[in-house]
């Protein structure tokens, strides 16, 4: 009896050992997620939490995800380094995405890079620009941890520690930041409610910021940054900046359809805003913001197609020009056409008066040509980049410039005024 029980127990144990790993395997993650913090930019706790978040994001994205933060890319191109990391970590031809945050600033080229492979490339390649934009927003907000969180967030994984709400992509949002303490709490709440109504009415995000410190940025740059951080890169929004440092301009920036609606009216908007500001003895920011919102609601249908070509400046204000018809856009094709016509006529008529002499190569015996030296010596290499204004498409990576705002793709515009 005892012998039979022992045999039964042994058999059960063996079966369990055989099945258990399979079930563990069955319940294990389908996709891998790896973080390589080679630069020690993350704490241990951050790395652990982010690894879990990345794992969750990998499942949501249906591919392997990897992040490498490196301060030495071993003399390789960033894209080569990232591809190498991807293949080494996840294997060749796997459905994988690897993000490189490159801190190797001693290298000639140190741009960040996203490498994709397999099905992940087919699915996400066209979103590269958007993914990288999100990563940079996270980086600005919360450093490398924020960058990785935003990377995961793109694929739908949310961090528990992220108390800031991600921009609600379904409703029109508002953001009011009184960094110069010009408004009371009650005024702020009332204004937020009014801004909210206005935002729903005009169907654009609205932001207002009052500050006396642009943190080293220019006025338009600060306003653009504020809009990106508050509402997300590439959203329809209008932002009013009150700059109280007496050096920079107050600024209104608009993006997307807000550009069509309000950019031609920026001067009028400022008139209205300053009417409010000057009322009640001056520095009346409460009225200024109210007047701002009411103007937006009253003029939302005053949309021009953007065909204006005013560009002038005086001591008080200037417009940033938008694209549209101008004399320049006719002169350039005319100039090119004249040059083409001159070249064609000149080359045709030269055939009537002279002929290119036959080269002495015709008399060379190529069978007796003997090369004694053939050398090509590599000297050096440079990589430059330039921002272009067309809308973003899929790409591989980006470069973090030292400071400065990011110019936006698509239609954007703005204007400023100095009080």
């Amino acid at each position: 009896m005892f012998y039979r029980l022992k045999t039964l127990f042994t058999a059960a144990t063996i079966m369990l050992c055989a099945v258990l790993p399979m079930s563990v395997t069955a319940y294990a993650a389908k996709y891998e997620a790896k973080i390589f913090d080679l630069d020690d930019s993350l704490t241990y706790e951050q790395e652990t939490e982010l690894a879990e978040l990345l794992s969750e994001a990998a499942e949501l994205a249906d591919c392997n995800l990897g992040v490498v933060i490196a301060d030495d890319i071993l003399g390789m191109y960033p894209d080569e380094y990232t591809a190498d990391m991807l293949n080494t970590t996840f294997g060749d031809d796997s459905s994988s995405i690897m993000l490189l945050l490159c801190n190797d600033f001693d290298a000639e080229y140190h741009y960040d890079w996203i490498e994709m492979d397999g099905d992940a490339a087919d699915k996400y390649f066209n979103e590269l620009g958007t993914i990288l934009g999100d990563v940079y927003i996270g980086l600005d907000k919360n450093g490398y941890a924020g960058a990785v969180e935003s990377f995961c967030g793109y694929f739908g994984a949310a961090s528990e520690n992220n108390t800031e709400e991600t921009p609600d992509k379904t409703g029109w949002q508002t953001e009011l930041q009184d960094l110069d303490d010009m408004l009371s709490d009650k005024e702020e709440q009332e204004l937020l409610a009014y801004m909210d109504i206005t935002a729903q009415d005009i169907e654009c995000h609205i932001g207002v910021v009052i500050t006396d410190d642009l943190k080293g940025m220019g006025d338009s740059e600060y306003a653009d940054n504020f809009a990106d951080e508050s509402f997300g890169y590439g959203s329809d929004n209008i932002v009013l900046l009150f700059c109280n440092d007496h050096i920079h301009y107050d600024w209104i920036s608009a993006y997307g359809k807000a550009t069509d609606m309000y950019e031609p009216l920026i001067d009028d908007i400022f008139d209205r805003v300053y009417d409010g500001l000057d009322s009640g003895g001056g520095n009346n920011y409460y009225s200024a913001i109210q007047y701002f919102c009411s103007y937006l609601r009253d003029n939302k249908t005053t949309a021009s197609s953007g065909n204006y070509d005013d560009y002038y400046s005086d001591n008080n204000y200037y417009y940033e020009d938008d694209e549209g018809f101008s004399i320049g856009s006719l002169l350039i094709p005319a100039g090119i056409s004249i040059a083409i016509a001159a070249i064609v006529v000149s080359s045709t008529t030269s055939g009537y008066t002279k002929k290119k002499p036959v080269s002495a190569r015709s008399y060379m015996d190529s069978n007796r040509t003997k090369y004694t030296t053939r050398s090509d010596v590599f000297l050096r290499e440079t990589t430059t980049h330039v921002r272009i204004s067309s809308s973003s498409s899929g790409g591989g990576g980006g470069s973090r410039g030292g400071g400065g705002g990011r110019s936006r793709s698509g239609r954007s515009g703005g204007g400023g005024r100095r009080r």
Partner: protein, 364 residues
């Protein structure tokens, strides 16, 4: 002080024999007898054996010395056919009697240092030259109206042009700065990666008979525009080929001609080595230094066939030349200013439509 002359007369009827390019041999246009080169050499042995080498100055008589000096200027000769006394130009080596049109070869102009080493006989006839000119003007839409009706051919002549042909081996070295450029785009950022290289090529290059015409009065660029000649048809010089065609002796010395030839060879060597560098898929190649040394070099003097056709239009003379062996041709043509302007306006309008449309579609 008469110049010694030679003629080739038909052994059957005594009329002048001329080289017929269609036949590739010699024809008597009076009795229609034909002779090949071997027969000419046989029948005119004394002409072929005529000593054309430069004589020792110590052995010349006074009269001969004067004749030698006179050879360098205009010369008087007596036509062996009609006995007329005719003065010919200072460079003429083969002429026709102005009176009876008998081809006469002036041996004094072909002797000594002026004795040619090689000759390419004519392969193109007068009719072919005329036809070539007509074809050349076809399709030239900038010619003035009425050109074809009003252009008059004033003169058409076959001429053996004196050429210096230089062969040799050169050692050439070319150094160049090269770039490989790669661009790619990420979102709204365009990246450009540039790699810089220093390339060197050294080679031994062999050039065979690079020509330069030995006549000052003939435009070098005109002659170069109807090259190359096919040297498979080149033969040792024989005076018989000159019968019926004009010929000139050179007045550009070998030293003078070598400067031009050497420049052509230098340019060609640089071209060859630069092309070898560019074959490495560089985005740009910029030559920084070129060095060409001439090693073994030889030069020969040859007479090469060219058809000259001069025509008049609106009181102005225009030249047209054709390679007498290969038919390669070139001529200077008048250009109508009105037609040039209208052509330019049409190109301008078409370009404006395309550029304007592009600007409107993609940049607005």
């Amino acid at each position: 002080m008469e110049m010694q002359t030679v003629t080739y007369q038909c052994p059957h009827c005594g009329a002048a024999l001329e080289f017929d390019s269609t036949l590739g041999g010699f024809r008597c246009f009076f009795c229609d007898s034909t002779f090949n080169e071997e027969q000419i050499k046989q029948n005119f042995k004394e002409n072929e054996e005529l000593k054309l080498d430069k004589a020792d100055p110590k052995e010349l008589t006074e009269e001969q010395k004067q004749t030698e000096e006179f050879t360098g200027a205009s010369a008087l000769y007596t036509c062996p056919n009609c006995a007329a006394g005719v003065i010919c130009g200072e460079l003429d080596a083969s002429v026709r009697c102005h009176f009876c049109h008998t081809p006469v070869i002036l041996t004094g102009r072909l002797s000594g240092e002026y004795k040619p080493d090689l000759i390419i006989p004519f392969g193109m006839t007068k009719e072919m030259a005329h036809q070539a000119f007509q074809e050349y003007t076809k399709g030239k839409f900038l010619l003035p109206n009425g050109f074809k009706e009003n252009a008059k051919v004033v003169d058409i002549s076959a001429l053996y042009v004196p050429y210096w042909l230089k062969s040799g081996i050169t050692k050439a070295r070319v150094e160049a700065s090269c770039k490989k450029i790669r661009t790619w785009r990420v979102g709204d950022v365009r990246y450009t990666n540039t790699k810089y290289y220093n390339s060197v090529r050294e080679a031994e290059l062999a050039f065979i008979r690079v020509p330069c015409d030995g006549s000052k009065r003939i435009d070098d660029s005109l002659m170069e525009s109807i090259e190359p000649f096919n040297y498979s048809g080149i033969k040792p010089f024989s005076m018989s080929y000159l019968s019926g065609c004009a010929a000139e002796k050179y007045d550009v010395s070998l030293n003078e001609a070598e400067n031009r030839i050497d420049k052509r060879i230098r340019d060609a060597a640089e071209e060859v080595l630069k092309a070898d560098i560019a074959a490495q898929s560089y985005s740009s190649v910029s030559v920084t230094s070129t060095n060409v040394d001439f090693r073994q070099k030889t030069a020969v003097y040859a007479l090469l066939p060219v058809w000259f056709l001069n025509y008049q239009y609106n009181g102005k003379d225009y030249p047209f030349v054709m390679n007498g062996q290969t038919g390669s041709r070139f001529g200077i043509l008048p250009v109508s200013k009105l037609k040039s302007f209208l052509f330019g306006a049409a190109v301008f309008l078409v370009s404006l439509i395309i550029c304007g449309g592009f600007t409107w579609l993609f940049l607005s």
